[in-house]
Symmetry: C2
Subunit: 150 residues, 2 copies
DNA sequence: CTAACCCCTGGACCATGGTCCAGAGTCAAG
DNA sequence: CTTGACTCTGGACCATGGTCCAGGGGTTAG
């Protein structure tokens, strides 16, 4: 049965009875990864068929895609779990969800600032490096090897 | 994050017989980390005293600082091992070091762009979220794929 | 009914980058 | 000489993010 590809043009229409393998193909992750995410609390424990097989709904595919995208962007699974937790926190409500999203935003902005600082430093070093000549004159090596000046 | 500037003027004289503990304190890394780096080939096997104690020269301290700073710039230990090899390669050293620094810079800039994209999306969601009312109307939750069926 | 799949669990294993520990030897001060 | 701080080794352990395997059972087409 060569259903390797989801049509992609048509609406996924979330069929509500998928096996773990079908979910894995649709979300483009490994089967073991799905079970791992379940263990780690990134996916809720799925309902089971009489056989013990996991019985997923199409929303799981969405959730896995979200996880994959977030992971590609450098979020840790812990961070992703937190992002996902925003969507199941009926107790504390929208207000808390918004507050936590803002906290996450602040974290992202902090990380951006750090990386920008690194980028500035690296850019300067590269600009100052002639790309040839004696090692002693390479500003990159000198910066890395220099004394601490805290 | 490490400083980028090079003093280059002072060479506060590396004492040439340091124990691993003295090196660790000077380089601000753990003793175990030094032994780990030696095992991993980031430090050459140190000479030993008659007792078996490692006997470091002050250059090791500089090398460790180099490693720490490169790590701060996002180089992996594997990449750092290569950088260290280049830094003692008179033929290709400077040119390759510059190239690798440029590659690292490109990686950092890529990550910055990704995070900025995330930030934009998250900002929009936060702006659109009223901060109260039913969860179903929260744009943040809707964007994340919403419901949890447990 | 029998293949050929699929799925289940628990646990081992991988890389990365360390950190810690036990048991034994070394070194310097008092 | 004793004490306490230091060092040695090999190996266990940690977190992260999976991946694979054995030994079972489920399911489906021919």
């Amino acid at each position: 049965m060569g259903r390797m590809d989801t049509p992609a043009t048509t609406r996924p229409t979330a069929p509500s009875h998928l096996t773990i393998g079908e979910v894995a193909r649709r979300a483009r992750v490994g089967i073991d990864t799905i079970r791992y995410y379940e263990r780690e609390g990134l996916l809720p424990p799925s309902p089971r068929r009489a056989s013990g097989y996991r019985d997923f709904g199409g929303d799981t595919v969405e959730r896995l895609r979200f996880i994959r995208r977030a992971k590609d962007l450098g979020f840790s699974l812990g961070e992703i779990r937190e992002l996902l937790a925003l969507s199941s926190d009926r107790e504390r409500g929208v207000r808390d969800v918004k507050r936590r999203a803002q906290a996450r935003l602040a974290g992202i902005e902090e990380r951006i600032r750090e990386l920008q600082s690194v980028r500035r430093g690296l850019k300067q070093l590269i600009a100052a490096c002639p790309g040839h000549g004696p090692l002693e004159h390479c500003p990159i090596l000198r910066a890395l090897g220099g004394e601490d000046r805290a």
